[in-house]
Symmetry: C2
């Protein structure tokens, strides 16, 4: 029987473990006698369009090990959106490239927007009866994929957030009368990342954790903060970049708002209304690219999810991706089951109501949910880490 050729590409924003997903797929493919060529496309869907493919069988065992601890995106990404109209010549161009390389399956490693890309690809192949499978591999620090217990990349970003917020809280205890400390986390429309700081114990627990799922107006916020400051002479506010829906912002190619910098708007509000000084930390890119605080659970699951993705393809599945289900919390155990790309692509998983309590903390259920995910990796000796170079 003819061996099957596969193509893998990375899509969307980086996470601390997306290269572990790549390593996991190659490791699983190398073990399978049914797999022929293992290609990677450079810079996502743009590399597919350009036929800019690299042979991933060329990666050594050492390379694959290094990739499991390398953040960023080894093959590079693209934020290009594919047209809704499946008769667009773009799909014809993609099809030609794939057929010329005799690709049997395309693996798309990305988040909700990327799964929309993957779903469109799959629809266009189905429409024209092209026998190429499309399989998704989950990825997003935002933790907002519907049908998932959690996403690959979230645990590492949460661990970074919790650790740095603890440092910030410690800093705040230096003064009898402190500033208002504001920490801005990523997370786009959802509060999963900001909420992770709820794991911090007193006296390091944030005084307010603001997430888009639990709106707060300026007046209520200032009242709350005033009360906290009067009592404690300091306050630590963690806010999700997406809380400030009212401010006019730029949109990305998928129509999402760019929420960055919300903390400075709230900081200005505090200064103006309460006359209190604040200090802002914008965690930003290191949340998704800090290898020092990557979660070992995240890395292990990235390897396993890719293994599952390959097995779905070998089992003849099409247009699906492995969703993570938790089958036991104590001991912590997960399994991977196929969900359709259509059910994930472009959709957003908000924090469920049972996890939300008030602006001060989340439910014990949420903390139980999060705790097992944050197991720190074994650290390498060089503080800045030893990685694969991303210079292409």
């Amino acid at each position: 029987m003819k061996k099957k050729n596969i193509l893998y590409f990375q899509s969307g924003g980086p996470t601390a473990v997306i290269n572990a997903s790549l390593a996991g797929l190659v490791l699983s493919a190398l073990k399978s006698p049914s797999i022929g060529e293992i290609y990677g496309a450079r810079y996502g869907i743009e590399g597919v369009l350009d036929g800019d493919f690299t042979n991933l069988r060329g990666l050594s065992e050492n390379d694959l090990n290094l990739l499991t601890q390398t953040p960023g995106m080894y093959l590079g990404s693209s934020r290009k959106n594919l047209p809704e109209d499946l008769s667009s010549p773009l799909y014809e161009k993609i099809k030609e490239k794939l057929l010329s390389f005799e690709i049997d399956c395309v693996f798309v490693n990305g988040g909700n927007d990327s799964m929309l890309t993957a779903a469109k690809l799959f629809r266009s192949f189905s429409l024209h009866d092209i026998p190429i499978s499309v399989i998704g591999i989950p990825k997003t620090i935002d933790n907002d994929l519907v049908g998932f217990d959690h996403t690959l990349g979230y645990a590492s970003a949460a661990l970074h957030t919790v650790s740095l917020t603890k440092s910030i809280a410690i800093d705040g205890f230096s003064y009898k009368e402190g500033k208002i400390q504001i920490v801005e986390t990523m997370g786009r429309d959802t509060g999963w990342l900001a909420a992770s700081t709820d794991l911090l114990e007193e006296p390091y627990h944030p005084d307010l954790i603001l997430v888009p799922e639990l709106p707060i107006d300026h007046k209520e916020f200032l009242n709350e903060l005033k009360g906290i400051y009067e009592k404690k002479k300091r306050a630590l506010v963690v806010l999700s970049e997406g809380i400030n829906h009212n401010a006019p912002k730029e949109k990305d190619p998928f129509g999402h708002m760019n929420f960055e910098g919300a903390a400075y708007e709230w900081s200005a509000l505090i200064r103006k209304a309460l006359g209190l000084k604040s200090r802002v930390s914008v965690l930003s890119s290191p949340m998704r690219s800090d290898p020092v605080l990557a979660s070992q659970v995240d890395i292990d699951e990235a390897l396993r999810a890719s293994e599952a993705a390959l097995s779905f393809f070998l089992d003849g599945k099409k247009g699906v991706m492995p969703a993570i289900s938790r089958i036991s919390n104590n001991p912590y155990r997960v399994e991977f089951h196929p969900v359709s790309l259509d059910s994930v692509g472009g959709k957003i998983l908000y924090m469920p109501k049972e996890y939300l309590k008030d602006h001060h903390s989340f439910s014990e259920g949420f903390r139980d949910y999060l705790r097992p995910l944050l197991r720190k990796r074994t650290l390498f000796t060089d503080g800045c880490g030893v990685f694969m170079s991303l210079k292409r």
Copy 2:
């Protein structure tokens, strides 16, 4: 002979090793048969005024070990400035408190502003022939104490900055056409911390490193950036919070500007003038409070500087502090010699001309200077660290 009582207090902003200084002083004092009571004042000079003293002999060996890896300020700080007028009743009040506790020496652990406080204290004692010594213990992440090779706290803050900037650089390589990434570091009027990122090797080296010592106007900056972006389709800019001297800002009690948020101003400038998107990371408080990336050299030197400070007092010295001198760079060796508080207090050490080159990199001399300082500590197993609680 009557044993000598000492009082220690912390002053200014936190560093990752200021509690190691405290531990070092107590460890050295416990070993000395000449030392009687070892007091710590809570919340800096305010605790001295209030007689809010705690007995540091009560710290166990385990506590002292924990303190060497605890960021923040265990005893708490104050930003209170003492009056220039030495006849102010404040000095009389301080004197009474110290005499009532039979204090023979006050150790002030702080940076340039705090050494001004220490110098004023010492002048007021001298003026009234009060036989209390004042000894400084150096501390500031800004690295701006005159007469010092480097300051305690700088190495750890630089290590944090280098590590996170590397993560940010890695993140930037994910896209063929990337954003302008802007990293804002602390450092007040000097560029020592921003400059530390010059240690990053290609392809992770910043494209522009902006420090107050090497001014750049908006036009020159935008021209440089335009050239870089046209060539690389991405750019990484590291800027010291103090570069933007023109913007109206708040002043602190010592008359210093609050520079925070400069990166957003430059980001807006880039968007407006070049139409390019940017992503800002404001490293802020974790730079000085991140225990995970503390430098082992910094911790070791904090212990040794406190030992030197105590020996200066026991040798009968007054109004001095231990400055760090490098006696050899390969192998790296330093010694501590006394400098007068007056020569340090309120003064600022800028980066010397021989370290400055252009906006792209610094001299090899600067990199040789910095490299030996950044030796990562042995990591504890818990990602978030095990510390002394700072809840007082």
